[in-house]
Symmetry: C3
Subunit: 255 residues, 3 copies
């Protein structure tokens, strides 16, 4: 089986950056296969990267190497993290935090094997340092020769804000993400019961459904997103546009 | 030869959705190769998906599996369609209609092999149901063990509106699509003769050419698009912007 | 090792164009691997394509075939260019010019093997002519049977404007490109010393740094881009937006 390297970045698609990451990998590991999760993480936004990684990782085969290239903080050292099933190659900036809640880190290595780095011009450690290391890792299937093990406690981690209980089955939540369809994805994880109502920007949404059947175009309702979060949807339309709401907006959910 | 799965969706590229479809496929069929036709079909727009599929399929090798993920209607059951040269995996919502005019369906199977579905969280049958079935199909090269054969007549199909003859060699047509370059692609299929003029939004275009040579930047002319449709082009510019016209706009063509 | 074909085009991602280029390649050369450098070169913009190719090529393995599909001039004949390490397949419109300054052309072949062309409908020689030739080239690893050698002097080439010395260590430069992050990349190649100041649209930028550490969000500074050009950056923000400057803007650099 060919080794998989799944890439997540904020590099966008208009430049040559994402393409050259792939070139660097193929130079080192011609048999590795590169899959692009997305290159449109919000620029410099580690939280957005952490969310998309959490929502994506479980759909990849055991052994996949996640190369996470969102890097606002140049003081965050490059690391390899191994979990039971996967590897991460990333700056130590917290980007694995949300994935690790479900798939805990087992070991962390500060990358030291700088002889593998691309002697490219300029600065661009995502491509010049992390990409060739991910490619070497796909060949070696072990981080031992690529870095120095550090304490798990040195791995930077953060948590998302939890929904705030308001009493009487009501919760104050936030919009974590607006997806391509304009669905407003909240920080409330579905636990078997859908809210009976939601309130956002002064608008009350009073329908909820676990399927998209039977709605009219533009009709607002509450449902569960593909990764099990409560979301506000406008059928065949953008809830974000209809409700003029975006990431960070407050949503009240009533159960 | 590695089996090819060509994916067409309205998932966009900013989220993890398209990437995870690929992950699901590689989990089931590590040797399959995934090619992205586009993930930017207009959201929920089966007609747009059907057009792009019609325009794309012929350029893929025999045996390619087209995984078509545009799914506005949750009551459309997931099917596998086999043609002489290809397979389609899609909801039964008509997305193969325009391709089938040239490459007729030979058999249709309602997908029943739900033991192959991804036990993912939330609802997302494109990724959770159709993607793993496409991957199994790439291994089995047969739909027999994945579904139950149904009548060809149960396959949902639609037609595009035909150009309306107005007499004297004139036709009322519509703009089917505006491509990345801003070319306005009509529903008139080239049959050997270019129109001498076109009229759209009150503007008359009176040049036509089968090559782009000899035009000035921004000059409007009539030509044939890469898939043999009559189109209105602005040389090195966007005809859509210049003519303030989009999909669905009426165009008169004069032969 | 599988043969690599790296594609650079202005086809965008919303249509089926880029996907079908890949399909055409796999039909001819099932073992070739296609890497997308970018499909978002500015439409018809050979200079933008030449820049991105120059900035990308060095990160690809020896033997990579660069398929360059930016084609505003239908009178530019399709060619194969071989260099010491790579092949280019492109119209003879100058798109290799900037790469060739570092990786000189060794031979040029006018493509004549039209029996390999796709007998597709309509006109689209990027996909119908250049793509299948690139795929054949990946199998043959030689251009001899695909074209007729022509003089190196017939290869169309251009140069970028050089920074203009103004005396006292000052240079008038231009912005070559605005990348996905909004960084303003100038035509001044870093030669070991960073400018102490830059002036653009009446704004003076008076910090320079070879790392992104220690800046505040939105703070402007001068640095070196990943391909060794002097650039103006706004930390975790878009310098292009902040300075209301784009490609072609004049920048004064003071050393």
């Amino acid at each position: 089986m060919r080794s998989l390297i799944a890439v997540l970045s904020d590099y966008g698609l208009k430049d040559h950056y994402a393409g050259t990451v792939c070139g660097v990998i193929k130079e080192v590991a011609p048999d590795a296969e590169v899959i692009n999760i997305t290159h449109q993480i919000r620029p410099f936004d580690v939280v957005d990267g952490a969310l998309k990684l959490k929502w994506a990782y479980r759909y990849f085969p055991v052994g996949t190497i996640f190369l996470c290239l969102v890097d606002p903080d140049p003081t965050a050292v490059p690391v390899i993290v191994s979990t039971e099933k996967y590897f991460l190659v990333c700056p130590n900036n917290g980007i694995g935090s949300l994935m690790f809640e479900e798939e805990p880190p087992e070991a962390v290595y500060r990358i030291t094997a700088d002889h593998y780095f691309v002697k490219g011009k300029g600065n661009f450690r995502g491509r010049n340092q992390l990409a060739p290391i991910a490619a070497e890792l796909s060949r070696l299937q072990s981080a031992h020769h690529l870095g120095e093990e550090i304490e798990l406690s040195q791995l930077k981690r953060f948590k998302l804000p939890a929904p705030k209980p308001l009493g009487n089955g009501a919760f104050e939540c936030i919009v974590l993400d607006v997806d391509h369809f304009g669905n407003l994805i909240t920080n409330f994880e579905f636990n078997g019961a859908l809210p009976r109502a939601a309130e956002i920007n002064g608008v009350k949404v009073e329908k909820s459904a676990d399927s998209f059947a039977g709605f009219k175009k533009g009709e607002l309702f509450i449902s569960v997103n593909p990764e099990n979060h409560i979301q506000i949807v406008a059928y065949m339309a953008s809830a974000a546009k209809l409700l003029k709401a975006g990431r960070g907006a407050k949503v009240k959910l009533y159960f």
